[in-house]
């Protein structure tokens, strides 16, 4: 990473340990506030907290006890138009309020001509799209005065006009803007399978293309297998189940190469009881420990 930019956008938050945190969703807020489970850190969806509602009060309590990461879905860095000014300013207010250690969004788009479609829509990896993303990431980081991480999204199709691989695209954006990269291992697996590629080769290509120094976080989640076109199956990144064995395998390979990286277990649909998330987190921690790379000791909330 460009060290000047890194310094310029340095985080003001507490340091997130290189162990496994949990993607915290509103149904578990009360449990976490009341029980203070021994979780290293939490990641929350920023857009849930951009009002003045009860959830924000809950986040204040949680931020007092745990290091936090803000994960966004609304910056739309792949849109031809720059990120929505109001949205960025709300995010900046939230950043000032909860002082997260990491801020991230996706290499995707969801806004066009003033319309916002709540999904992570695929970008063609072209030179034109690259310039758009670089401009938008610069803009977002300038407004936030913070570095953001960009996540590789799940893809269900291989857009014909792409001239770069996803890894090449992300590496170039990181180089030009000083942003970091969030490696979602489940997304990488889902995209590779949906594009008839070998997930192991996709990971090797990713890690050989994106500098290890740029990768500031890893995501893990479950997916489902649905009916695709004709006889083909389609993997859908629905965050509604445990991490599958193949993805655990890829994660092990990734941390063996990258060393310790803060990791998050995400679960957004059919959300289970909290202990299931803790079990998943402990698997990730034990993989890091087994490989001798993690600070797997859990931080018990004070």
């Amino acid at each position: 990473m460009n060290s000047a930019l890194h310094q310029h956008f340095a985080s003001g938050g507490r340091s997130i340990p290189a162990s496994t945190g949990i993607g915290l969703r509103p149904p578990h807020h009360a449990w976490v506030i009341e029980r203070r489970p021994p979780v290293s850190w939490f990641e929350v969806h920023a857009e849930n907290f951009m009002t003045h509602g009860v959830l924000v009060d809950e986040l204040d309590s949680i931020a007092l006890k745990y290091p936090l990461s803000l994960h966004c879905v609304g910056l739309s860095v792949g849109s031809v138009a720059p990120p929505e000014k109001t949205h960025l300013h709300r995010l900046r207010e939230l950043v000032a309020r909860c002082n997260p250690d990491l801020i991230s969004d996706h290499l995707a788009w969801n806004a066009v001509d003033g319309m916002h479609l709540p999904d992570l829509l695929p970008l063609p990896y072209t030179e034109e799209a690259l310039q758009v993303v670089i401009r938008n990431v610069h803009y977002a980081q300038d407004v936030l005065r913070r570095q953001i991480l960009l996540e590789n999204p799940s893809r269900y199709t291989n857009l014909a006009h792409s001239t770069l691989s996803e890894a090449e695209f992300l590496a170039e954006v990181a180089l030009q803007t000083g942003c970091g990269v969030l490696l979602d291992v489940n997304n990488l697996y889902v995209s590779a399978r949906n594009q008839d590629s070998d997930p192991n080769r996709a990971l090797t290509h990713f890690l050989g293309t994106v500098s290890a120094q740029c990768i500031g976080e890893i995501h893990l989640a479950g997916h489902t297998i649905a009916e695709g076109d004709g006889t083909r199956e389609l993997l859908v990144d629905d965050h509604g189940s445990r991490v599958c064995p193949d993805v655990w395998g890829l994660y092990g390979e990734a941390v063996a190469i990258l060393g310790p990286v803060p990791t998050v277990i995400e679960w957004d649909n059919r959300i289970p009881i909290f202990s299931v998330l803790e079990e998943e987190a402990s698997i990730a921690d034990s993989l890091m420990t087994a490989l001798g790379v993690g600070e797997a000791a859990r931080v018990v909330a004070a």
Binding site: T86, L123, R155
Partner: protein, 254 residues
């Protein structure tokens, strides 16, 4: 227009089901597989339905899961979100519901949706912020919670929102329903509060919320009551509520 812009316009139109044949061809030539389009459509619809279910729980209760999903599908196609923040999505949903052909009175649905929306809006306001003091009399002023809204409803929307599914049919038939009533809605710790107000108290609050002074608000709230009865009601229903603070101003001018 750039090719990226054109692709994004086409994909958005394809996702909302409003794509011309030529544009659909262009999308396919980009490599967009039908199953991929379907996954994105499902995700968008699922997310919007979830957001509107959260904001309109009474409408959901009355229409049921399927009826609500149909209403959202139709609404979201014609009114896609204009901002990334979905908590602000649904402003025009109450009005849109009036156009629907449902077995429930559309006037009732409209009122229910309006009530749900006001509660949701109030719940997302900052807690405990009050307006500038409004002079009541010598040395005394009142301050209203900035999140306060007051509306008149013809249907028992608050009771329908709180009703169990077994109580619902009776309320929808109008059983046990009070006649038109006024509801004050404001932010309290933990969510939104709702309180029924008499016409006098509601007139007083509405007048103040509209920026009128206390004297004018009092005059408006008299209605058919004698002044002392009106003052009693305003004191009991407004001054004693947590959305109102009575403060001493130190101003002794008569």
């Amino acid at each position: 227009m750039s090719s990226l812009h054109e692709y994004q316009q086409n994909l958005a139109a394809g996702l909302l089901g409003s794509l011309s044949f030529q544009d659909a061809e262009a999308l396919r030539s980009c490599g967009m597989r039908p199953c991929a389009l379907r996954v994105h459509q499902q995700t968008i619809f699922h997310t919007l339905t979830k957001a509107l279910r959260y904001s309109f729980p009474s409408v959901l209760k009355v229409l049921g899961d399927d009826g609500f999903a149909q209403a959202v599908a139709s609404y979201s196609k014609h009114h896609p979100p204009q901002a990334a923040m979905l908590s602000s999505y649904g402003t025009s949903f109450p009005t849109y519901l009036r156009l629907l052909d449902t077995r429930v009175s559309t006037v009732l649905l409209f009122e229910l949706a309006q009530f749900d929306w006001l509660v949701d809006e109030a719940a997302n306001e900052p807690c405990g912020l009050f307006c500038k003091p409004i002079a009541l009399s010598r040395g005394i002023a009142l301050r209203l919670d900035l999140s306060l809204r007051c509306r008149r409803f013809d249907f028992p929307v608050d009771r329908i929102r709180d009703a169990s599914l077994s109580e619902l049919p009776r309320l929808l038939r109008g059983g046990g329903a009070p006649a038109a009533h006024n509801l004050a809605i404001w932010r309290k710790p933990g969510g939104a509060a709702v309180k029924s107000l008499s016409n006098s108290a509601a007139g007083f609050v509405e007048s103040l919320c509209a920026g009128e002074g206390a004297e004018k608000a009092m005059a408006r709230s008299v209605g058919g009551l004698n002044p002392s009865e009106m003052i009693k009601r305003v004191q009991a229903e407004v001054f004693a509520s947590s959305f109102c603070r009575i403060t001493a101003t130190g101003d002794k001018t008569p």
